[in-house]
């Protein structure tokens, strides 16, 4: 490329031996010189315009930080106000859905309907806030905290039963409709001796299919009939009315090994769940019901 700066320029370099050549800034580094070319006019005007714009912007929008806050700006605009408006917009958009979910009995919503899908998603979010502390983020529970994904339900797993459990909780003293039952502490309270408990546990392990019947289990059968069958049934399949677990299935809330079952019989168990009806609005309760029911074990 031809360097046309090499041609005559009346404003030429100052002080050089030659009077011709481009005007430079006088900076030089390794023989590289900085030219002093004028700027394009449109560029300058854009620059001035942006300065004017910036001044105007500082006046109409909050811009200059002061000791405690910032200048308010003549428009009164704030990002907080923007957020508030956004939230109001979202809530207005959801109002219709929330009203429907709150007023429709959850067991009457068609499981295939878009309303139910929406409710499940809303319940998923609410679950993450209120329920994960005990039941885990995947609702898989842990020892003493039921796994809501499986098909074993102490108090019933249809939507009405789940909703009842949610609203009134389990063994909540301040809710008179709460799910309530109490297993006797057969060992601690001296109802059964340690030997008898051993025999009952042997029997339970037989009906649960974990052990073969032996002498101990045979001694335990009448003890079970006399002390346990009233809640768990003669066959040990449990009774939801009392929240009495099915002892013949493979799911053990507090563990199914001999030590765990012995501890359960000796000291009894009694999990507690808050009555969420006192804390959450009906729409959220219904959405949680829909979500828990959708986890795969709902009846």
């Amino acid at each position: 490329m031809t360097d046309r700066n090499a041609k005559t320029d009346k404003s030429g370099a100052t002080g050089g031996p030659e009077k011709t050549g481009p005007k430079t800034m006088g900076h030089e580094w390794d023989g590289i010189e900085e030219l002093d070319n004028p700027m394009p006019r449109w560029w300058l005007w854009s620059f001035y315009a942006s300065i004017v714009f910036a001044i105007g912007y500082c006046i109409v929008y909050p811009a200059i930080p002061l000791a405690r806050s910032a200048t308010a700006g003549t428009f009164g605009w704030t990002s907080r106000g923007d957020l508030k408006a956004d939230i109001e917009k979202v809530e207005a958009g959801r109002a219709e859905f929330m009203r429907t979910v709150a007023t429709t009995p959850i067991e009457q919503i068609d499981p295939q309907s878009p309303l139910m899908r929406q409710a499940v998603e809303g319940g998923r979010a609410a679950f993450k806030v209120h329920c994960v502390q005990c039941h885990g983020s995947g609702a898989a529970g842990s020892k003493g905290y039921p796994n809501l994904n499986d098909d074993d339900w102490l108090w019933g797993g249809d939507r009405a039963a789940i909703r009842q459990t949610l609203v009134h909780g389990i063994r909540q003293p301040d809710d008179d409709k709460t799910r309530l039952s109490m297993m006797p502490a057969f060992g601690r309270d001296g109802i059964l001796t340690a030997d008898q408990i051993h025999d009952v546990v042997s029997h339970v392990r037989v009906i649960a299919g974990q052990d073969k019947a032996d002498a101990s289990a045979r001694r335990g059968a009448p003890l079970f009939e006399a002390n346990c069958a009233v809640c768990h049934g003669s066959d040990g399949k449990g009774l939801r009315q009392f929240g009495a677990p099915n002892l013949t299935d493979r799911i053990w809330l507090y563990g199914g090994d001999r030590d765990s079952v012995t501890a359960t019989v000796t000291n009894a168990r009694g999990g507690v769940m808050p009555a969420w009806g006192q804390r959450l609005d009906p729409a959220t309760i219904n959405m949680l019901t829909a979500y828990v029911h959708s986890l795969g074990g709902g009846e």
């Binding site: 490329m1 009346k10 006019r41 499986d150 493979r250 074990g297």
Partner: protein, 484 residues
């Protein structure tokens, strides 16, 4: 930047005023080539959105449509989904290699002929000439005092420019919505704000860039000249003034001095027709967009004074050197074929063929499976283990389709849909998927607690409408005791 001082006389002030350029009209081979390319490119731009293409009841019948709202791209028979965006990536790679190919072969042909800035500026210049007259008339008109005639001409010129600008912006939005509907909505005031603002912005930029800024876009704003200059080599075609033939220029020389003179008569025609306002005789310059109008102008003069054409010509630097040393001129076609260009062409062709092959063999259904990880497995009361999967069924055809999902492996396994019932568990499930949509479902799979730890198996999706399309998604079944 090199070049300013010539035009400004080195004013040295704080800012420099652009020197107006009044390119003279010229006729010749390259001018006619430019007309042809302008006609083709503008026709493609304005007409394409109005082409119809029947795709059945469930898809739009616009031949080329970028449907941003539904995230589909329609190009005649090809429909691109977002997950198939690699076709667009492939096109971009082809465009990149194509740029290497074209630039290394014929230099800055893009700049000179096909760049929208060049095309619209050329169109605007032509309108200017039609109204104000050619170069000299334009210069006179600018110097003339304001009169009714001058005002009328100015209003007419800017009016037509604005109209073209408006049509240009208007045509752009038609690529993004059904053109006839949008055209009606635009005229009746029913179109979306974004449509109007897009039209307004594009009309404004077309008017300003094409009417006012012209070569300044190429010189100051566009990065292309720098990039393309770097892609040229000494065997790429560029517009060159053959100074060994032209110099010394004959004008101003005493005819009887007896000194040998070159072919250049210093008539200035080459500079007068240049749309970027340069003098090609100063050598190759980055401002040169290789539009070749100076070649037309010079050939015209050479014909009149009875000298061979090609004093200014497309030539490679290498050939120029050889010619200066006395070698015969090299034909343009011969400079194009060389290892570098052939390699680029081969690459470009391979990518193109690979894309066409991929397009021809792609399936229009897709299955993806995500294994639920929280919890990995659930033990059921009868001791069986249940895993959950979120599956996505894509039906990419514009008709409703039935699919069969099969459990492949997992001998004692059975599956059911979340909204269904375990009692309906089976080895195969049947789904209907709406046209052109993705269906997301949760699938539960149950199997015995015994078996390998993490047992691999697959879901197989096959079309139930007679087509032999299948898609398989490998996954695994987890049981208690698995090490995650």
């Amino acid at each position: 930047m090199a070049g300013h001082d010539d035009r400004t006389g080195g004013s040295g002030g704080l800012y420099v005023r652009r020197a107006d350029i009044f390119p003279r009209a010229i006729d010749g081979f390259y001018r006619r080539l430019k007309w042809a390319i302008m006609a083709v490119t503008l026709t493609i731009y304005y007409v394409t959105p109005w082409l119809r293409w029947d795709r059945g009841a469930y898809a739009p019948d616009q031949a080329v449509l970028v449907d941003l709202a539904n995230r589909r791209f329609y190009f005649f028979d090809i429909e691109i989904w977002p997950h198939e965006f690699y076709y667009v990536a492939g096109l971009l790679v082809m465009a990149g290699v194509g740029l290497f190919l074209v630039t290394s072969t014929v230099g800055r042909a893009w700049c000179g002929y096909a760049c929208p800035q060049t095309v619209w500026t050329d169109l605007f210049l032509h309108i200017e000439r039609a109204i104000d007259g050619d170069r000299n008339a334009q210069i006179r008109l600018r110097a003339a005092p304001l009169s009714a005639g001058k005002i009328a001409k100015r209003v007419l010129k800017h009016g037509i420019w604005l109209l073209i600008a408006l049509l240009t912006g208007g045509a752009w939005v038609f690529y993004f919505a059904d053109a006839p509907t949008l055209a009606r909505d635009l005229l009746t005031g029913d179109a979306a704000v974004v449509a109007y603002s897009t039209v307004a912005v594009l009309a404004f930029t077309t008017y300003v860039l094409g009417g006012w800024m012209r070569e300044q876009v190429c010189i100051y704003m566009c990065p292309w000249p720098r990039i393309q200059s770097a892609m040229l080599d000494e065997r790429s075609l560029i517009v060159t003034y053959k100074d060994w033939r032209g110099e010394p220029r004959s004008r101003g020389m005493k005819k009887d001095a007896g000194a040998p003179t070159g072919d250049c008569v210093d008539c200035g025609a080459c500079a007068a027709v240049c749309p970027t306002g340069i003098d090609i005789r100063d050598g190759a310059q980055f401002e040169c967009i290789t539009c070749a109008l100076c070649i037309d102008a010079c050939d015209d003069v050479m014909a009149r004074i009875g000298r061979p054409r090609g004093l200014i010509d497309y030539a490679t630097l290498e050939d120029c050197k050889a010619e200066a040393a006395g070698a015969p001129p090299v034909s343009i076609a011969r400079t194009m074929l060389r290892p570098r260009t052939l390699l680029y062409f081969a690459l470009w062709g391979v990518i193109g063929l690979a894309m066409m092959f991929a397009l021809g063999n792609r399936t229009r259904m897709d299955l993806s499976v995500a294994h639920d990880r929280n919890p990995l497995w659930v033990q059921l009361s009868d001791g069986a283990i249940r895993n959950a999967y979120t599956i996505k069924l894509r039906n990419m055809e514009s008709r409703p389709r039935d699919f069969v999902l099969t459990l492949d492996g997992l001998a004692d396994g059975a599956m059911w849909e979340s909204l269904g019932n375990e009692a309906e568990s089976a080895r195969t499930l049947r789904f209907s998927v709406a046209p052109d949509s993705v269906d997301q479902r949760r699938i539960y799979v149950r199997a015995g607690a015994d078996g390998g730890a993490a047992e691999p198996f697959a879901f197989t999706l096959s079309a139930a409408d007679g087509a032999h399309e299948t898609d398989k998604a490998e996954t695994r079944f987890d049981r208690p005791g698995d090490q995650p």
